[in-house]
């Protein structure tokens, strides 16, 4: 009994004092922000047809549907081209800034607004990839996903280094300005009555917490309220991370368990069929080649079901999990090309990435830092992402801005 109590208290200590999985949440952030950014860029020529005011799914139809289900979208607020263009650019910018981790907490909220607005405006153009981006955009709001590989992290590191040298880092101006601007926009939107009560409350609470965090951190950085905020933020982060992982498991479980019931998955020909659907054969010759051997199709069919069903259970064993994870990521990479579903696959890979081992992610980060150091010199290097940081006391090297950060980690 006392051992149980000890375990519980250790667990509580653990989830309140640290935001777990910093590299995993960062890679999920980068993955989804990047996928959505690339998607928006790719669809830029088709944006009017898919989401514009005069799209076949007209604004009026979208309004009728949204009135019934109360889905969140800012695009129904106005039918003007200016508003549509603004929202599209806003979605592009917020995903780019979330990707690089600039004001990550705020950007995660704006990113979610962009994703939900576009997707809920036209629910009938999306697919499974949009669906998973939609969910993760919401979950990311609650994670501290900018702890590594972000401009926020670099800014904090530099400020720390400056203090260690006995300098006073320049006061942060962009943060308060952004906070005020967002508050103003929220006040206008609230006053205009565009938002439902639930969303109004959520956004104001998030806004207030950001302000409170800033204020307490500035006035009393080591006080009890500050620690309490940190504890709550960690708990929320860890809970959201748990939800993200559970969601990924549910995706695979659902996909796997429903397949088991299908006769084609049982007779081992299921994989053959999608390769012969006109909507999913960008490379017919390749599809034919891949589906021309019965035994291979059988193995892949059975393997797919087995891996999808097994994945959640392999989390209990690190090595088995990594093998399956690699298999699933490979599968998605193949699907991206063969079935012509690049953004769906990218989104799924981003979701899978939450299970990657820290050591692997750090190595990737270090490698990225080295590559960047080799190819991007000079001014651009200052804009690029920093690598993971170590917690050694800041040294001269630590403060040298031009060192590719990744190579140090």
């Amino acid at each position: 009994m006392s051992r149980f109590a000890l375990a519980v208290s250790r667990g509580i200590g653990r989830v309140t004092e640290t935001a777990l999985g910093p590299y995993q949440t960062a890679v999920v952030r980068i993955g989804f922000a990047g996928t959505w950014l690339l998607f928006l860029l790719r669809e830029f020529p088709h944006r009017q047809e898919m989401y514009g005011p005069d799209a076949p799914w007209s604004l009026d139809m979208a309004r009728q549907l949204v009135a019934g289900n109360h889905a969140f979208t800012v695009l129904t607020w106005s039918g003007s081209q200016v508003w549509f263009g603004t929202v599209y650019v806003f979605a592009l910018l917020s995903s780019a800034l979330l990707l690089v981790g600039w004001r990550t907490r705020t950007m995660s909220v704006l990113f979610m607004i962009g994703v939900l607005s576009l997707q809920n405006r036209s629910v009938f153009v999306g697919d499974g990839g949009d669906n998973v981006i939609h969910l993760m955009a919401i979950y990311l709001v609650f994670t501290r996903c900018g702890q590594v590989w972000s401009l926020d992290e670099r800014r904090a590191r530099r400020a720390r280094a400056a203090r260690a040298r006995g300098e006073f880092p320049a006061p942060d101006r962009a943060g308060p300005v952004l906070w005020c601007a967002v508050g103003l926009a929220l006040a206008v939107v609230t006053g205009a009555g565009f938002l439902g009560v639930g969303w109004v409350v959520l956004f104001w609470v998030l806004w207030a917490v950001h302000g409170l965090w800033w204020y307490v951190g500035r006035r009393a950085p080591h006080s009890q309220p500050r620690i309490l905020l940190d504890v709550v933020a960690n708990a929320v982060h860890n809970a959201a991370l748990f939800v993200i992982m559970a969601e990924a498991c549910l995706i695979y479980s659902t996909a796997g368990w429903y397949k088991i019931q299908g006769s084609r998955w049982q007779d081992g020909t299921a994989v053959y069929y999608p390769l012969h659907l006109d909507y999913f054969t960008p490379w017919p010759a390749l599809s034919d080649l891949m589906s021309s051997y019965g035994v291979i199709v059988l193995l892949v069919t059975y393997g797919t079901v087995a891996v999808q069903v097994a994945f959640p259970f392999t989390l209990l064993n690190r090595r088995a999990k990594n093998v399956l994870l690699a298999a699933m990521m490979t599968e998605h990479a193949v699907i991206a090309v063969v079935l012509g579903l690049p953004f769906f696959s990218l989104a799924m890979i981003a979701a899978d990435a939450v299970f990657l081992p820290t050591s692997f992610l750090r190595r990737v980060g270090a490698e990225a830092g080295r590559v960047r150091g080799r190819f991007v010199r000079g001014g651009l290097a200052r804009l690029a992402l920093p690598g993971p940081r170590k917690e050694a006391p800041p040294t001269a090297e630590e403060t040298a801005e031009h060192t590719p950060a990744g190579s140090r980690a």
Binding site: R10, P22, M50, D54, N69, F72, G129, R160, R163
Partner: protein, 374 residues
């Protein structure tokens, strides 16, 4: 709702679904041979950054929670040097089985420089596979837009954090918050589980509560090519009755819009949703909101008809179905369903003759007579 499922309509509560942002048949399930190890975090050359715990553990083959255990136990806050590396080697030598640390170190120790830290009890922690507490978490920088705190002070290397650092009053507040967060997360996961699960005892009884939680933002459907993949190519075709400039009427031939989509997808590494999903899902939407006699059901029925009509009118315009001065009077949509031929190693026989489903002629409203331009 998913065309690429054989039994599209058996999703629990689907009929109540206020909206359908459905992941229509997106494929995801084909599996390459598990060439896992290529992509797997295969142990790389233990070259870079000597003594780095994570790497050392990597070199050890990434096996167990071992890597998380290495390094942090001692709580030595010094720079990452030999110790963690040695720990990694020890793991290696030990044959990489099991958790190394066993929590012996306790979490009071300052985290090691690499963030490696004893893998404590928590499964969550285990699953998260972190190399350890990340120093970053310590810094006052986090959610807020303006996190840099205390310009004058120096952040201690290991400030007290977590519940233990709080006085009783604050501990109570933290415990309450923790409880709320934990319950919310568990309830949410439970709700999502019930939402994606087949209809069962619980969902039959509490379907309403589950839907209220899930819709509209957490709706999801992951029956990807399940229970069976679609085994037919469904082509949406359309023709129009056109009022010509000289006052006559002519009827166009059938335009196979799906075939045009297919042609746009061929050789295209980045197919657009407007080519791959738009028409396909509009047709699904129509089917889902109508019965077999094409009678619409409710708002969705009406919306799906308007949507499909606007879409085909837009597409006909792009195919130059209208001459100068012409306008659309009516359009007719039909689907042509062709079985995918069975694999050549199979002795199944299926008909290759297309089966048509023809919808009635729809008159085109005034505003769309000269086309829909998006």
């Amino acid at each position: 709702m998913d065309t690429y499922d054989e039994k599209p309509e058996d999703r629990p509560g689907d009929s109540d679904a206020p909206v359908s942002r459905l992941p229509a048949g997106v494929a995801r399930d084909e599996r390459e041979n598990p060439q896992a190890d290529d992509v797997a975090p295969a142990p790389g050359p233990a070259a870079a950054a000597p003594g780095e715990a994570g790497k050392a553990a990597d070199a050890a083959g990434e096996s167990g929670p071992a890597s998380t255990g290495a390094g942090g136990d001692t709580g030595a806050p010094g720079p990452a040097a030999a110790a963690p590396g040695e720990a990694g080697k020890a793991v290696d030598a030990a044959g990489e089985s099991g958790p190394v640390s066993g929590g012996a170190g306790g979490d009071t120790g300052a985290p090691g420089p690499d963030g490696a830290r004893p893998d404590e009890t928590g499964e969550v922690a285990r699953l998260m596979e972190r190399g350890g507490p990340v120093p970053e978490a310590m810094d006052p920088h986090g959610p807020p837009p303006a996190p840099v705190a205390d310009p004058g002070g120096v952040i201690p290397v290991a400030p007290r954090r977590g519940m233990a650092a709080l006085s009783l009053r604050y501990q109570i507040a933290a415990a309450l918050a923790l409880a709320v967060v934990a319950v919310a997360a568990c309830v949410h996961v439970g709700m999502v589980f019930l939402h994606v699960a087949p209809s069962n005892t619980l969902t039959k009884k509490h379907g309403r509560a589950i839907d209220d939680w899930i819709y509209p933002e957490f709706e999801q459907n992951w029956k990807l090519f399940a229970p069976n993949p679609l085994q037919q190519n469904i082509d949406v075709q359309v023709r129009a009755e056109v009022l010509t400039a000289d006052g006559g009427v002519r009827t166009t031939g059938w335009y196979d819009l799906s075939a045009l989509d297919g042609a746009a997808i061929h050789g295209n590494p980045l197919p657009s949703h407007s080519q791959q999903n738009e028409l396909r899902r509009a047709w699904d939407f129509y089917l889902g909101a109508h019965d077999t006699a094409n009678r619409p059901s409710g708002l969705r029925g009406a919306l799906s008809e308007d949507y499909l009509r606007r879409l085909v009118v837009m597409r006909l315009g792009r195919e130059h179905a209208l001459g100068r001065g012409d306008s659309f009077a009516r359009v007719q949509v039909r689907s042509s369903t062709t079985n995918v031929p069975p694999p050549r190693w199979s002795d199944e026989k299926v008909s290759r003759t297309p089966v048509y489903r023809e919808l009635p002629w729809w008159s085109v409203p005034e505003s769309e007579r000269s086309g829909v331009n998006a």
